[in-house]
């Protein structure tokens, strides 16, 4: 009995994620934000931030490429 109890305790060490966790509506999530469509606003905003950084990196890449070409001439 004790052994069984210890085995079941061992099994509970890690809590697995089940399908129920996706359906669980008692936990508050950003459903309101999604239904209002506002999560997409956030996606756009963060997308612009990433886009800006990437454009900057690409331009720096080009500038350095240009300098390298001039040096190797």
């Amino acid at each position: 009995m004790l052994l069984l109890a210890s085995i079941s305790l061992k099994a509970q060490d890690k809590i697995g994620i089940t399908e129920e966790d996706y359906q669980n509506s008692s936990v508050q999530m950003a459903d309101g934000m999604r239904s209002d469509g506002k999560i997409y606003v956030l996606v756009t905003i963060i997308g612009i931030v990433l886009g800006g950084i990437l454009v900057y990196v690409i331009q720096t890449d080009r500038k350095i490429s240009g300098l390298e070409k001039r040096f190797n001439k």
Partner: protein, 224 residues
Amino acid sequence: MKTYWWKILAILLLAYTIVAGLLIEVPRLPILNETIRALFFHVTMWFGMLLMLMVSVYYGVKHLRTGELRYDDLAVEFTNTAILFGVVGISTGMIWAKFTWGDYWTNDPKLNASAIGLLMYFAYLVLRNSLTDVYQRAKISAVYSIFAFAAFIPLIFILPRLTDSLHPGNGGNPGFNAYDMDSKLRTVFYPAIIGWTLLGAWISTLRVRYRRLERKLEDHLINQ
């Protein structure tokens, strides 16, 4: 711009990370709520940092074997970007901790260990800048970074597991399944790691090229 396909890959993966990372269905877990999505942005910083530090150690060893400065350039700049990722990782972690664990800084072993790790790498920068001879600087910093990396891994991966930690998968031995992630989260998590790491590699290589141009210019001025 010799090969640029991986830069395009980085852009695509990062775009996917942000769109899918914010929009996919995630497990609805108490306390975590939507912050579980920080997995794609906070945890990936540390993975990216570690991968870049590995690259840095590789080039550090290569420098020690050959004594060539061009390997030192790579080693330094990858460490620099890794430190940037580490700082971003620790700041985002603090915000996440505030809203899930209740405080910006808990005396969690993993938090303290990663802070020590970052301080070790700050010391690396100080050490480099205190040496004036370029060859001496390259050699000493390569040796230091090998030791720092060898201390960093047990600090953040092994020691927190020997005690209790708030971080998932720490305390006890989790084996390979460190995070209790299901396959849905993994579909964004792994691409996110690759995407962020490639962006880090991109920034590092840009700075390597800048460094080499600068050295060429100096040589040019001296030989005039």
